[in-house]
Symmetry: C2
Subunit: 456 residues, 2 copies
């Protein structure tokens, strides 16, 4: 029973695997902040070495931004590409962390053991589940379980500027039968999911400039336009009273759920009130006429991710600022066209800026939504393999987060992706005190061994 030997090896090597994860997490690979460029590269080097240990032909591939890490084994069987990202989110507000985000540790909590640190869940811990499954397989069998290639990106948390050019330039090498991606979550603690539809993401930054310099609000207040006032009007106009996004044409291409998927989702018994109460809220903030699960999985959204202007420090400063800025993102579904929405959004904003003020836009990425063709038998094989590992049967699910890579794989490489991950809703990814359950890491590694056995 070769699979059993691999699973047994994974169980016995768990402490060593966790040590390797902690070492990886100590590298502060914050891709969006150029102060961390050298560390981000160090994370790429770390991964290259890990792939070399698997017997891969592993390389660092430079791009205009952070490098890609690739690796290949030859071998027979279905040609698989595994994708993950080695960069992490910024850590502010640092004051809310109860330990240094880059001094990770295994912590015993009331709900079990967790790996605490930035990137534990997103995505270093997740991508290592696959590498550790491969490592155990190689330890037992001397080779990897098939024809596997790897692609690791270092710009996933900063809009992936180098990704599309890299995929296009290396399409022959990277286009394979199927992609495996580990950057999503469990449906619930006991039930894994294979994500078959993903929202896209459009990221925009608006900078409004009024006066040529900061002004004293006593001397100029009431007469000179305040750019925060302009910005507040723009941002307040992005949703109507029913929670719908007001950008003209925004809902073009937004599909209704199929009857079949609606039935499947209803059977999941998603409890929107419990989901919200977990973070201290109770009122769904999205479209009034949509269920909570639709609001996070299948409906498009608009969020303001950051805002700045004037003096926001301690005390008070009666300044009338020269500039105010906000970062706005849209989650997209179905056939919504990110570039058409960008144009409509920018036109809407421009129309609200007074003639003596200026607006600049900064592009932070535009990726469409994607849906997978689950009639490939590998999907059902993987779903059965997952169901053997976990207490409850694996489900096909949606995902609110955007994983643009799956869309790019479809468009550029004509390759579907199987998105399987082991994160939990309380992992606090992108937030202070991010964690990944040791159980997620352990069972996740075992899950990949089962899936590879079934499909590779």
């Amino acid at each position: 029973m070769s699979l059993d030997a691999v699973l047994d090896r994974i169980d016995r090597q768990l402490p060593q695997a966790l040590d390797r994860l902690l070492e990886f997490l100590r590298i502060p690979s914050i891709s969006t902040d150029s102060d961390y460029d050298a560390e981000t590269r160090r994370a790429a080097e770390w991964l290259r070495a890990a792939l070399a240990e698997l017997g891969c032909d592993a390389e660092i591939r430079d791009t205009p931004g952070h490098p890609m890490v690739t690796g290949r084994t030859g071998g027979p069987g279905r040609a698989i590409l595994f994708y993950g990202h080695y960069d992490v989110q910024p850590v502010d507000p640092l004051v809310l962390w109860h330990r240094d985000p880059f001094d990770p540790a295994i912590e015993d909590t009331g709900a079990g053991r967790v790996i605490r640190g930035r990137g534990a869940a997103d995505d270093k811990g997740q991508l290592l589940t696959f590498i550790e499954a491969c490592r155990a397989w190689k330890d037992v069998h001397g080779t990897l379980p098939g024809n596997i290639a790897f692609l690791f990106e270092g710009e996933e948390e900063s809009g992936s500027p180098s990704l599309v050019p890299f995929l296009k330039e290396n399409a022959d090498e990277l286009s394979r039968d199927l992609a495996l991606i580990c950057d999503t979550g469990l449906y619930s603690h006991d039930r894994p999911g294979i994500v078959t539809q993903l929202r896209g993401l459009l990221g925009e930054e608006i900078v409004i400039t009024a006066a040529a310099k900061d002004l004293h609000s006593g001397s100029f207040g009431g007469l000179a336009m305040n750019p925060i006032r302009v910005l507040a009007r723009i941002l307040a106009s992005l949703h109507d009273d029913r929670g719908r996004v007001t950008v003209p044409g925004f809902y073009d291409g937004v599909p209704e759920l199929s009857a079949e998927l609606r039935r499947q989702w209803e059977s999941l018994g998603f409890d929107g009130a419990a989901f919200l109460s977990g973070v201290g809220l109770f009122l769904p903030a999205g479209e009034r006429d949509r269920t909570p699960l639709e609001q996070v999985w299948s409906r498009p959204t608009c969020e303001i991710n950051g805002i700045r202007g004037g003096y926001a420090g301690r005390g008070f400063k009666t300044v009338l600022p020269a500039e105010a800025a906000a970062k706005v993102s849209f989650r997209l579904v179905g056939d919504q066209d990110p570039l058409a929405i960008r144009d409509a959004f920018r036109a809407m904003v421009r129309a609200m800026v007074p003639a003596d003020c200026r607006v600049e836009f900064h592009d932070h990425g535009a990726a469409p939504a994607s849906r997978m063709r689950t009639d490939d038998p590998a999907f059902e094989a993987a779903r059965r393999a997952l169901s053997h590992e976990w207490p409850q049967e694996a489900a096909y699910i949606g995902a609110g987060g955007s994983i643009p890579i799956a869309g790019y794989f479809q468009q550029i490489l004509n390759m579907d992706s199987m998105l399987i991950g082991f994160g939990r809703d309380d992992d606090a990814i992108h937030s202070p005190n991010e964690k990944y359950d040791v159980a997620s890491f352990h069972r996740g590694t075992r899950s990949w061994a089962r899936i590879l056995d079934a499909i590779a």
Copy 2:
């Protein structure tokens, strides 16, 4: 001619007076930031020493916040209290300064020599004009020109929390015939003004909290309320389409200009377009049916002085923040009641916060507007004295900025204030690269010698 000797002494001692000002400006007395508490106290010590050199009985008077500095000479004549403040505004954004704000220097510009540095105009340079006038008088005559007392505050830029209690506790000592205040500007480069009406100031900070922690906008976006969205709606609702402030009851107690004052102001030929074009704007942003001069002098306003929320640094972070905050100030006129407006504002905000979000308010001061009784003959005597020093005749003017001290002097000490200052519109107070013209400093010092000769 004793006045001429004093004026001559001021002219000859200008280099030494400027050196003293530069020394004073090197002390970073930012009162709103507690990191600078020791420096703020050092500025108080510096002033105490300066008053001692004038022969005053000078003291540092501790308060729960930054200390007051007081000084007294006895002597015959009208009992005058001179007021100024030794604290300064924060300096951010520091990157926009072309020199260290606390390494001041005299710079030659195309428009004449200026003193560059934080506090040069607001208010260290201005208060020193009075001290230097007294110094020259004492150098020539051996004593100050009358019965003069001094009060210097170190919390003017941070809401003056200790001021009212201090005035009440020391009302007998501080209540005198007339106050002189040097914290305002010239009407134009050639025409000085005596401010006879001042807007009041209400400062409020709103902190909106939604979820218990920052969330991933992919997992929760669309379902969980975003506090920046709540805040933007609130801020966007503060003005209507005609530029009026929408807080209920806001315009209660706002007087119309008297026919006489309207005539005087019209005769000043204020050019709103030129005033705005000086800072790169051209559209008056206030109430549509009011003149530009009314918008800055006699109409109440609402400004957003600062805003923060989510990730506003480099790059992009798809965070759904837990908290967003804004600082809002209201300039008040006539008989507007700051406390009633605070209540109405807070009620209006509370009504716009969803039931599962919270709002906190922080109080940053509440001072009513004030108007002076110009039938005191000292006003006309001072106006004539000023008119002798400057190319154009001095005018009674309004001021958009709030100088709450004048209102407190009226209410607590039953004492009117004569507000005379020599700042220019382009001094960039509260902004990067603040300056004070050497001509303002020099002529200002001479002006006080003339005024003291006329009224003390």
